[in-house]
Symmetry: C2
Subunit: 255 residues, 2 copies
């Protein structure tokens, strides 16, 4: 894997599915894809959640392909009539849908011993936009699909996890974004001025403030992010000293 | 509330925050806003997750305002330096940011008895795009913000829940999308043909198939959605009969 520390590598993500937009299913793929991308040195920059609609999927995929280095989709690659991601992406790319011979072989092997065998519905899972490669998936027979910088993955989170695992270390990325957390049992509004000062004093450093309410008390975690370990350490030190100076107890590592 | 059953009312949503895109925090607001909108007879049609960036927030808000009847945002309306939603939205709307007098009064009352009182940082939470109204929030002093068809809400899910509660029944919507679920301990690929036939036979009806793997067995829930109770019932009956005919056990209400 070629690490290019100067370039910031970016990714967009399209989450496909009426079940997310109806509120029936809480998405778990955004967090898992985001965390995985961080480790690859690729920054997830935008996510769009769209319905099971050819036009909506195609428009989102094309918009994000234009804007970012990589695009990931989750959902809609199964065997049922509402699984239209492959068709929508092929249309967006302007290529036909074809049966991938290796995918057909994988499915045939997987379903050989199962009731019904390789039915027409199951064979749908071997369909790919022409020119695509497969992303292996040890969990079920159906592979994910890679087409250039575009990655089509499952909607079921633990299958997507397998596909991400198969892609680990395969994508060119930059310096991973590092982060450290400092927690404090105080209202974030009390120390807002400190956060602002510390961020301003450190280039290539962002501080996010994430308030919470637990055990009847307000608190907040301050997450400092940087691609530079030195900058990160310096920002954590400055923040900790400033909190101590104003008399706040804080918890390195977060609460 | 005026119910217009013929028009399909739509909404877009912008989830704002680096913490979601870094994978640090799993979003809970999409599912809660989506579920709430269903009951209001408004269909969540697209969600965009963007970073704490003025341009990214403004572009997403404007794109969704053009496309849908309502737009909801979550995140970035707190007291710290990374809370820039009000500034980004005001810029996108082309209006200045002003202090809302009622919001200032609410915050003054809320912080009167608290250490530090109404600091400059806390007063940030009274800032609104000019022309905005407030969305009450019983949980903390800080209100949400309404500007025409645009609703700015908190990132912390239980505060957003309070704001949604304050908006319940206030928005014009259409006929709510109804749904019924039928569960089956089978691979969805085995009965894909049945789902397709049932959906084809019923206009104004969508069927989603959501596979799972539990207790060492595969199964799937089939969610049938329609704005018509009659169509919904008929589709559930047809699906149930077809499953029974082919010898599948199924569970009304889902598994």
């Amino acid at each position: 894997m070629n690490k290019s520390p100067d370039k910031v590598w970016t990714a967009g993500m399209v989450v496909i599915g009426d079940e997310i937009l109806s509120g029936r299913t809480a998405d778990k793929n955004i967090a898992q894809v985001a965390s995985w991308l961080q480790v690859q040195g690729i920054r997830l920059t935008e996510v769009r959640v769209v319905s099971d609609d050819m036009g909506a999927i195609g428009d989102a995929v094309n918009a994000l392909r234009d804007a970012y280095d990589y695009v990931f989709t989750t959902g809609g690659i199964g065997p049922t009539h509402d699984d239209i991601t492959v068709d929508a992406v092929a249309a967006a790319l302007g290529v036909p849908v074809v049966i991938h011979p290796e995918a057909r072989d994988m499915l045939a092997a997987y379903y050989a011993a199962k009731p019904g065998g390789l039915t027409e519905a199951r064979l749908r899972m071997a369909r790919v936009p022409e020119g695509a490669d497969l992303i292996p998936n040890r969990m079920s027979g159906a592979p994910g699909i890679r087409h250039g910088n575009l990655f089509l993955m499952a909607g079921v989170p633990h299958i997507t996890a397998q596909m991400l695992d198969g892609l680990t270390g395969q994508l060119e990325g930059g310096a991973p974004l590092l982060s450290e957390t400092v927690g404090c049992w105080t209202a974030e509004s009390e120390i807002a001025h400190i956060l602002r000062e510390v961020e301003k004093a450190h280039e290539d450093c962002q501080i996010g403030s994430y308030p919470f309410f637990r055990e009847g008390q307000v608190g907040a975690n301050f997450v400092i992010r940087s691609t530079s370990r030195d900058v990160l350490n310096s920002a954590v030190d400055t923040l900790s000293e400033a909190l101590a100076e104003e008399g706040y107890d804080f918890t390195p590592g977060g609460i």
